[in-house]
Amino acid sequence: MKQSLPLRLLLAVTILFFLLLIGLPFWWVISGSFKLPQEIIAREPTLVPQSFTLQHYAKLLDASAYPTYLVNSLIVGLASSVLTVLLAVPAAYAFFRMELPFREGMYRAILLAYAFPGVIVLIPIYGLFAQLGLVDNLLALIIVNTTFALPFSIWMMRSFLATIPRDLEEAARMDGAPTPVILRRILVPLILPGVAAVGVFAFISSWTEYLFASVLILSDDKRTVPVGFAGIIGQYQIDWGLLLAGASLAILPVVIIFSLVGRAFVSGLTDGAVK
């Protein structure tokens, strides 16, 4: 396709605009985390760092509980992500394929649950976990994050399943594959982009979750990054360098996960299946 020069220029400028809009804050945070404190709070902000230091990172990792928060967040995030995928795939298949009474009704009910803000169920959930003895336990966060990620994940997974031609499933049935095998060997490999998307979604939801993490976790050594990090900011003074270094590190796992599963987003996996 050939485009005229002005049109291409316009498109390029548009892309550049959004790139700057999204990228500049990140650049400011990451570059700032390597600046000396006096440059960070300088009256004239610098786009290109004039100084370089690792003192904020050293302080963050040696003198604060940040590494503990990071590990806790990773445990909760990865566990929520895996659990969400493990539950969303069979649930989506059941909603998609099985002949259940009130199937559509249940499906809508699940989506409806997603529409309520978490704060509404905060107190009942706290009471529930208190009775189960799960308060101040990372498991509580894993359960909560999975619960909140599931409705959207099931919905997303169901749309991915809907792209798989029914013939494939029927061919597998004719070939003698029972339903769990069809799911594992035929459907899941074909909806890997969906599985990856759901996994990333669940991880990021968990990674950024603040409300439940702040209420259900009491002891400092079990806090996750968003809550623990908020404590680092301090009551009377803000250590900007520390804050920016912490924020930069918090972005890192998300970037790594995206770079790992990004390949799975490549579509065209079902090419040649039918026709």
């Binding site: 031609p165 013939d167 070939d175 003698g176 594959a177 035929i186 996996l269 040649g272 026709k275």
Partner: protein, 357 residues
């Protein structure tokens, strides 16, 4: 080798009956083709035999085993889908080996059988490829290979050639016919293409509206259709069904068609005088030496070389098709032509399409 029997098989979707009370015996080693217009229930019937669609009423037996409620895999049938339904993330070898893997065979045995099957289908050079790297014909062969490799009681084909282009379709048709000959396997083949049915079938089952209209060998259906629907459906170009009225004439009938009349000697009951009937004549019975003359106006001529088809209108506007010789094919469009009907081979149907003679 086992027979496959359908007894009163019925399928309802809500209030609509897609397949009604079908009785059929398919003999071991036979190639039976289900043919009919779309929506006639042929695919539903095949899917019920496969076990993919539950049966509302009736029984399906394989040999003397009642499989009506059996899971697809328990029936020992293999199916080739219209869309091929190859597993896109698996190689050709993995696709063909999948049913064997499900049977729990050892890796060596699977590899051996897949290789042997690939050989017969000329797929041995493609075993490591993914389906997307194959042409349409090759994909169809892989789908057939996946069916053959398990050595099924019977093969089910659901419009397997519909996605191929015309040339490849003819080639694959011959290949399936050869496969049937070599394997001596029972095959049930669904198609809406009556040419495919005629060329492949030992017996054709013509379906309409979920019911069997007629079962028989291809030429039996062609020469001796049970009703006007079968007469019109089997054969290409279609049989001409000319509206006519019937009058008694001694011990025979005088059939008055637009622009002429034909004499008939029916075997069974005579229609009452003045009854509306349909005279059935194949295109090749429209213009024969010494036939009953019938005038018509020429509309179009298709000159195919070996044969020519003349499309014409009778006096009342009824469109008819005639297979004509070179002399008649030289007629110009809009000109008056005179057909010569072979009345001895004509068929007679009453107004509802039932065969009278």
């Amino acid at each position: 080798m086992t027979n496959l029997t359908l007894r009163g098989v019925t399928k309802r979707f809500g209030a609509t009956e897609a397949v009604s009370n079908v009785d059929l015996e398919i003999l071991a080693g036979e190639m039976v083709v289900f043919v009919g217009p779309s929506g006639c229930g042929k695919s539903t019937l095949l899917r019920m035999i496969a076990g993919l669609e539950p049966v509302s009423e009736g029984r399906i037996e394989i040999g003397d085993r009642d499989v009506t409620q059996a899971e697809p895999v328990e029936r020992g049938l293999a199916m080739v889908f219209q869309s091929y339904a190859l597993y896109p993330h698996m190689t050709v070898a993995e696709n063909m080996g999948f049913p064997l893997e499900m049977q729990g065979l050892s890796k060596e045995e699977i590899a051996g059988r897949v290789r042997a099957t690939a050989q017969t289908l000329q797929l041995q050079d493609h075993l490591d490829r993914k389906p997307r790297a194959l042409s349409g014909g090759q994909r169809q062969r892989v789908a057939i290979g996946r069916a053959i490799v398990r050595n099924p009681v019977a093969f089910l084909f659901d419009e397997p050639l519909s996605n191929l282009d015309a040339e490849l379709r003819v080639q694959m048709r011959l290949e399936i016919a050869r496969l049937h000959r070599d394997l001596k396997a029972t095959m049930i083949y669904v198609t809406h293409d009556q040419v495919e049915a005629m060329t492949l079938a030992d017996r054709i089952v013509v379906l309409r509206g979920g019911r069997i209209e007629q079962v028989g060998a291809p030429l039996e259906l062609y020469d001796n259709p049970a009703n006007a629907f079968v007469a019109g459906f089997i054969g290409s170009p279609r049989m001409n069904l000319i509206p006519a009225t019937s009058w008694r004439d001694g011990d025979g009938l005088r059939i008055v068609v637009p622009g002429g009349e034909v004499r008939f000697r029916p075997a069974g009951t005579m229609p009452p005088d003045g009854a509306a009937v349909q005279l059935g004549l194949r295109p090749e019975q429209m213009a024969v030496a010494g036939g009953v003359p019938l005038p018509a106006i020429c509309d179009t001529i298709e000159r195919l070389g070996a044969v020519s088809y003349l499309y014409a209108r009778l006096a009342d506007g009824t469109a008819v098709t005639a297979q004509v010789d070179h002399a008649l094919a030289a007629a110009s469009i809009g000109a008056q032509v005179s057909f010569a009907l072979d009345a001895s081979r004509a068929l007679l149907f009453d107004a509802s399409g039932r065969r009278i003679a």
